[in-house]
């Protein structure tokens, strides 16, 4: 497990519960990236990891756009993220409409 302090650019799969990150790149083909983008997982999206499924099960993440998702580990290994709020592992991402600003 890589910690945010050592290397801020890691794979989504490596994030611990409570960690926050911004999606940098999706290493999937264009159509799958477009589908994931429509679902709510796109480059620039901010995510917080809520929990990790047992025995390598999916990741439960919350997005800045308001949705929560279960992301399979095999897919999470294809999503490069940059960690955010390294000093505040318990900090929550405020959803849109709760005083948060726009993001890219």
């Amino acid at each position: 497990m890589v910690t945010a302090a050592k290397s801020p650019v890691i794979l989504l799969d490596q994030l611990r519960p409570g960690a926050h990150a911004r999606v940098l790149h999706l290493s999937v083909d264009d159509e799958q990236a477009a589908w994931l983008g429509a679902l709510g997982i796109f480059e620039g999206q901010r995510l917080s990891v809520l929990r990790r499924g047992l025995f390598g099960g999916p990741l439960h993440v919350r997005s800045r756009s308001g949705g929560e998702f279960a992301i399979d580990r095999s897919l999470a290994r294809l999503i490069r993220v940059v960690t955010e709020f390294p000093g505040r592992p318990d900090a929550d991402i405020p959803p849109i409409g709760n005083g948060g600003g726009a993001h890219g």
Partner: protein
């Protein structure tokens, strides 16, 4: 006059509901159509597209169409995904030149996500009515939606509603009428450039926060529920309890219903025999028609229970949580967590379980699950296992008997998972949806939506699966009751001889060279033919051939007869290895015409039921051959 009517029908505007899953589309559709919906006839489409004619204010009518929930109309991945189906529908509707209004249903509490689809729709389709649901929940969260600002920003009509309120129908139908009037006056197509905006930025602008504390409180509630329901131990225990109740309901409900149907069919059979006398006509009406109809009706309560369960699990948001918990378990077979529910239900009966695969979004995963469901150990296999264990393991300890039973039970699961793995690499290989699913907010289900789902599921089961089962039951009756040419029409008081003289008896004998390496004689072959109607018929049919009545209620006399049966030269007719080979055959063969009918219904083709029959029988033959010849070689 006729031309006028058809021209008027052609001009009937189409109002298409689109939206993300869980956006509140079904609820709105039910309100708009008053629960009246028929499944549209769109060839090759394996999901339901509902449609209904609705009267609008001002005397105009419109066809309201409910497309499956979707995330995108551009990124379709595969034509068979819900996205692909919706896209094809919209393209066809536009090509037909009918006036079309697209209503996008968005969840106001997740507006930024919904607006991503809005952006696509505006870019590709033009006129749009945006209906933002969950306005009441948004208010409860201390937030509100500025629809005026939204309309100005997008140049579309927008309305915020609570889809469960009674007033919603008039409000939305009024808006539809206005939009359609405008559509008549203004050319419909927009420029693609109008679909460019930042959904997150726009959502931030139009959602006004009144109380941050209320909003946080509500989110904390969801987080607390998830902390329990997604807990590695408590969550699994709760999920197991929910599934136990579901499984027990599907499993146990068949019994009282079957008893009731038996009682009713006995009365009806009595009337038929009184009216037509004993003979082939009565036999056809009682065993063919009445028996087939009884089989169909036995499945109905199971279909209803599964429909209720799926609706409740999906509508409450719990289904996705359960799938999250067991996702890893099924990933070994390259299936997602949602496949767990149909696979579990398949252990009661494959017919409702095949219907339950509708909860799977990925078409390849759904097809894989349908293809392996006939391998799960359903309740109809159990009497056959029971009879064979009683007959050929009579001298063994209870532990041995139990071990054989458990082995047979889990062999179904093992072969199912292996088959899934093989299929994902061969017949169902291809591009799947990315393995990410939405965990929707917890919601309370709506009775109105539930009731119309039940109505739809039962009527379609009776129409589309029931008729096939009934027709096949009649064909089976003919095979088992009509004598071969040159054989006596009927031997009084000797049903075993009648069966021997029947077409099935002839086929059973003709098959002997093929089945002899498995250790099966013509009697077992006839049993196999009969049990294609329903697996448990194997026991009754073997009983008839061996001159024993009521074998299904008490199999011990039949078990003893099978044990002591001798060939003409005095050798045992059936050995333990024959029984084991027959068990292996039953584990794998899709001996169930109702399952075949259900596969046909859900895949909308004969290709996949034919494939199921082909691969399960090939596997069954091979397994029985290995068991019989292997044990023979070892001196068994």
């Amino acid at each position: 006059m006729g031309e006028d009517a058809s021209a008027s029908r052609a001009r009937t505007p189409v109002v298409v509901l689109v939206g993300r899953p869980n956006a509140g589309k079904s609820s709105l559709y039910n309100r708009l159509t008053g629960g009246n919906a028929r499944v549209g006839n769109y060839p090759g489409v394996t999901v339901d597209i509902l449609e209904a004619l609705v009267d609008l204010p001002g005397g105009r009518a419109a066809k309201v169409v409910d497309l499956p929930g979707l995330y995108s109309i551009s990124a379709t991945i595969d034509p068979a995904t819900d996205e692909g189906i919706a896209r094809r529908f919209l393209e066809n509707a536009r090509r037909d030149g009918q006036p079309m209004l697209v209503i996008q249903v968005v969840d106001a509490t997740q507006l930024a996500l919904g607006l991503r689809l809005t952006r696509e729709l505006l870019g590709q389709l033009g006129p749009l009515l945006l209906v933002a649901t969950q306005a009441d929940i948004l208010a409860a969260e201390g937030r509100s939606l500025d629809t005026k600002e939204l309309e100005d920003a997008l140049g579309v009509s927008a309305v915020a509603i609570n889809a469960r309120s009674d007033a919603v129908r008039d409000v939305v139908l009024g808006r539809i009428a206005t939009c359609l009037d405008r559509l008549d006056a203004v050319p419909p197509l927009r420029e693609a450039s109008e679909g460019t905006f930042d959904p997150d930025e726009l959502a931030t602008r139009v959602i006004c926060e009144r109380s941050a504390a209320v909003s946080r409180g509500r989110r904390n509630l969801t987080a607390r529920a998830d902390a329990l329901l997604l807990h590695p131990l408590a969550g699994l225990a709760i999920f197991a309890s929910v599934l136990t109740v579901l499984f027990a309901s599907v499993y146990l409900v068949a019994d009282p219903v079957s008893q009731l149907l038996d009682a009713a069919s006995r009365v009806l059979a009595g009337w038929i025999v009184a009216g037509f006398g004993e003979g082939l006509v009565s036999s056809f009406l009682v065993d063919g028609v009445l028996g087939g109809a009884g089989t169909v009706l036995t499945f109905l309560p199971q279909v209803v229970i599964l429909t209720v369960a799926m609706e409740l699990l999906e509508a409450t948001g719990y289904l996705s949580r359960g799938a999250f918990l067991v996702d890893r378990l099924l990933s070994v077979a390259r299936l997602g967590g949602r496949a767990f529910i149909p696979l579990l239900t398949g252990h009661a009966c494959a017919v409702p379980a095949i219907y339950a695969t509708r909860i799977l979004r990925d078409p390849r995963e759904r097809l894989t699950t349908i293809l392996i469901l006939p391998l799960m150990t359903c309740s109809a296999r159990i009497p056959v296992y029971g009879l064979l264990i009683a007959a050929f393991f009579a001298g063994s300890s209870a532990w041995t008997k139990s071990a054989v039973f458990v082995l047979l039970y889990f062999a179904g699961i093992l072969f199912g998972l292996l088959a899934a793995l093989a299929f994902r690499r061969t017949v169902t290989k291809g591009k799947s949806l990315p393995m990410a699913t939405e965990l929707p907010a917890y919601r309370s289900p709506e009775l109105r939506v539930l009731v119309s789902s039940i109505k739809r599921a039962t009527s379609r089961f009776l129409r589309e699966v029931g008729t096939t089962i009934l027709a096949a039951a009649m064909v089976l009756w003919a095979l088992l009751n009509i004598p071969l040419p040159g054989r006596p029409a009927k031997v009084e008081n000797d049903p075993g001889a009648n069966l021997s003289h029947s077409i099935a008896g002839g086929v059973g004998r003709a098959l002997e060279p093929v089945t002899a390496p498995l250790g099966f004689d013509w009697r077992i072959n006839v049993g196999l033919i009969a049990s294609f109607g329903a697996r448990e018929l194997m026991v009754g049919t073997l009983g008839i051939i061996n001159g024993i009545e009521g074998a299904l209620d008490d199999p011990s006399p039949l078990a003893s007869q099978l044990r002591s049966a001798k060939t003409e030269d005095g050798r045992p007719r059936y050995r333990t290895r024959t029984a084991l080979a027959l068990m292996a055959f039953f584990v794998l063969a899709c001996q169930c015409l109702s399952t075949v009918a259900a596969v046909r219904r859900e895949t909308r083709s004969w290709r996949w039921p034919a494939f199921v029959l082909g691969y399960t029988y090939a596997l069954a033959y091979l397994a029985a051959l290995v068991v019989n010849q292997g044990l023979r070689w070892m001196g068994g």
